[in-house]
């Protein structure tokens, strides 16, 4: 059994010790988990979406379970970037976490301002631009559902930061690859996808929505097959590294995304089910690499073999 397995992956200039990143909104600010897991052993932590200012978010109920998935409409409750920098970043730095800050604005200027503030901070590894949260009315997804909006936010942020810029794409569009292309054109270093699918659930006895926000975002294993397809499409459309996510809960799921084209992955909902998921994932990846004689995990990215399908001997 090889002992020198290499789990590291590169997202442009950013190197992660392994491809498992905690997804934004699914790991708090990271510090909540500091006693439970070794933050430095994760590939990275995408912290909960931050606005310039504090936000209360939506009233409960904020989540509801659905078949193999969950809806959430948290509404980006959060402490705002200033308190984050003061209260959370020092501890994350001390724990040697690779911190990807997920930022969210209601206007283009807010994204730029957030990027400016965070670029001055030690301990921020990258910026993930949340232009895809389905749960808030202003900003966010209005940029993420428009090619020009996506281009504008990415290039606006690009201008003021030398940190890696990673726009996070929404799956609620007809052609996700075109958004990856817009991001690439605007100077992004990578793209991450998918954010949640806009969805809803109804209590049939009261005939009322089961979320206070009426609609929310669907995440979890239920969405994985759609997310894998979208990663595959993006991989073919752009040269940028793609960070894949959506329903990852096992090492096989990580590999599915990587083989489809992801350079790294994020794990969201599965952290709720099991805060130690990432250790199970890493153990499973080690096992896979050993079984298949793979020394460098990064080699797996984008290796989907469709030769047999493409020359299907029966025309269809």
């Amino acid at each position: 059994m090889p002992t020198d397995l290499d789990f590291s992956v590169a997202l442009g200039s950013l190197r992660l010790r392994n491809p498992i990143v905690a997804a934004s909104g699914c790991f708090g600010y990271g510090v909540e988990y500091a006693d439970v897991v070794d933050l430095a052993s994760l590939g990275g932590i995408a912290v909960k979406g931050l606005f310039l200012t504090e936000r209360e978010g939506h009233p409960p109920p904020r989540i509801v379970e659905t078949p193999s998935g969950m809806l959430n409409a948290i509404g980006l409750q959060g402490i705002g970037v200033h308190r984050f920098v003061r209260e959370k970043l020092p501890e994350l730095r001390a724990r040697r976490a690779v911190v990807i800050v997920n930022i969210c604005g209601t206007t283009l200027d807010e994204y730029v301002e957030l990027a400016r503030i965070l670029s001055d901070q030690e301990g921020v590894a990258a910026l993930e631009l949340n232009i895809s949260c389905p749960n808030i009315k202003e900003g966010g997804i209005t940029f993420g559902c428009s090619l020009t909006g996506t281009h504008a936010v990415v290039s606006g942020v690009r201008r003021v930061t030398s940190l890696p810029v990673i726009p996070k794409l929404t799956p609620n569009v007809t052609d996700v690859a075109s958004f990856a292309r817009a991001a690439e054109d605007a100077g992004a270093d990578a793209v991450s996808l998918v954010n949640t699918f806009l969805a809803m659930a109804i209590d049939v006895d009261s005939r009322r929505p089961r979320l206070s926000n009426i609609v929310g975002g669907l995440s979890g294993p239920a969405i994985r097959p759609i997310a894998v397809r979208m990663v595959y499409e993006c991989r073919q459309a752009v040269k940028l590294p793609v960070i894949g996510m959506g329903g990852i809960a096992s090492a096989a799921d990580v590999l599915e995304f990587m083989i489809a084209g992801a350079a790294a992955v994020q794990v969201g909902t599965a952290n709720f089910v099991d805060p130690f998921t990432w250790t199970t994932l890493l153990a499973g990846l080690r096992d896979y690499m050993t079984r298949h004689g793979i020394a460098r995990l990064a080699e797996v990215t984008g290796t989907l073999d469709t030769s047999r399908e493409e020359q299907a001997w029966i025309s269809s």
Binding site: C26, E32, I63, E65, F272
Partner: protein
């Protein structure tokens, strides 16, 4: 520090068609548990149901004095609790805990009144044990729909707890809601005698008790049952609107700052149900 244990089901005692007590082998988890804390349990290995469910630690089980596991008092209300009602001994369930802020014991001079509605009894057996150990005079006001749904009354009495029972149909104790005798008792209680209330049950009941406690100026602690996605502060699903000095009402995570709250902090009108 919470631990995650793949705990074997040691026993499943069905009390009725809806209630059961599940004994789980989890020494490390049980050893650290304090009254009022909870455990996140995964009811199935499948992805449907997906999330864990929160349960109060009902009993800490001991083997020759050493914590060997814990039990939960489970009420079947849906998919997850239904699976936990059906589960057979030998099966394993992932249990993460202990979690949450425990009950604060009252001042040594104070009496403790526990007020439980239905499955809201769950957090009080461990509290009663702790109070008995420190010699606190304790009363349990306990209401259910009918006699057959009043459980473990003997266990509380064995710990020296005075019990005041109510049933909605009058089949045992006082007919009506638990707030009836509680109100009477509060009225008869002389002012200088210190007293702390602890409440767990349906939201309307907790709200009513909180109002009574406020009217009688008695400290009151509630154990809330918000929907919880993770139990660790990661998801922000479990929030409760609270009033704290010097700032407008704001949401706090009940898995971290609760489930036990000072009743006066809660903005009751904002609570669902």
């Amino acid at each position: 520090m919470p631990v995650d244990i793949d705990a074997a089901v040691m026993a499943n005692t069905r009390l009725s068609d809806d209630y059961n007590v599940l004994a789980l082998a989890a020494p490390a988890l049980a050893a650290g548990a304090r009254p009022g804390q909870f455990v996140m349990i995964k009811p199935s290995r499948s992805t449907d149901p997906l999330l864990r469910r929160p349960f109060s630690i009902f009993q800490v089980l001991r083997d020759a004095g050493v914590a060997s596991g814990f039990s939960i008092l489970n009420k079947r209300v849906g998919t997850g609790t239904g699976l936990l009602y059906d589960v057979e001994p030998g099966a394993r369930l992932a249990c993460l805990g202990p979690l949450g802020r425990p009950f604060e014991p009252p001042d040594t001079s104070s009496e403790a009144w526990m007020v439980a509605g239905g499955v809201g009894l769950a957090p009080f057996l461990t509290l009663a044990e702790a109070l008995a150990a420190r010699g606190t005079k304790t009363t349990l006001f306990y209401g259910a729909r009918r006699e057959s749904e009043l459980y473990f009354v003997d266990e509380f009495e064995r710990l020296g707890v005075t019990t005041v029972l109510t049933t909605e149909d009058g089949s045992r104790g006082i007919r009506g809601l638990v707030t009836g005798p509680l109100d009477t008792a509060l009225r008869h209680r002389r002012d200088p005698e210190p007293l702390s209330l602890y409440v767990c049950g349906p939201t309307p009941m907790m709200r009513a008790v909180a109002r009574l406690a406020d009217a009688h100026r008695r400290p009151c602690t509630v154990s809330l049952e918000q929907v919880m996605g993770c139990g660790l502060g990661g998801c922000y699903s479990c929030v409760v609107l609270t009033r704290d000095p010097g700032r407008p009402p704001h949401f706090v995570r009940s898995c971290l700052e609760g489930p036990v709250f000072d009743a006066g902090r809660i903005v009751w009108d904002a609570l669902a149900h």
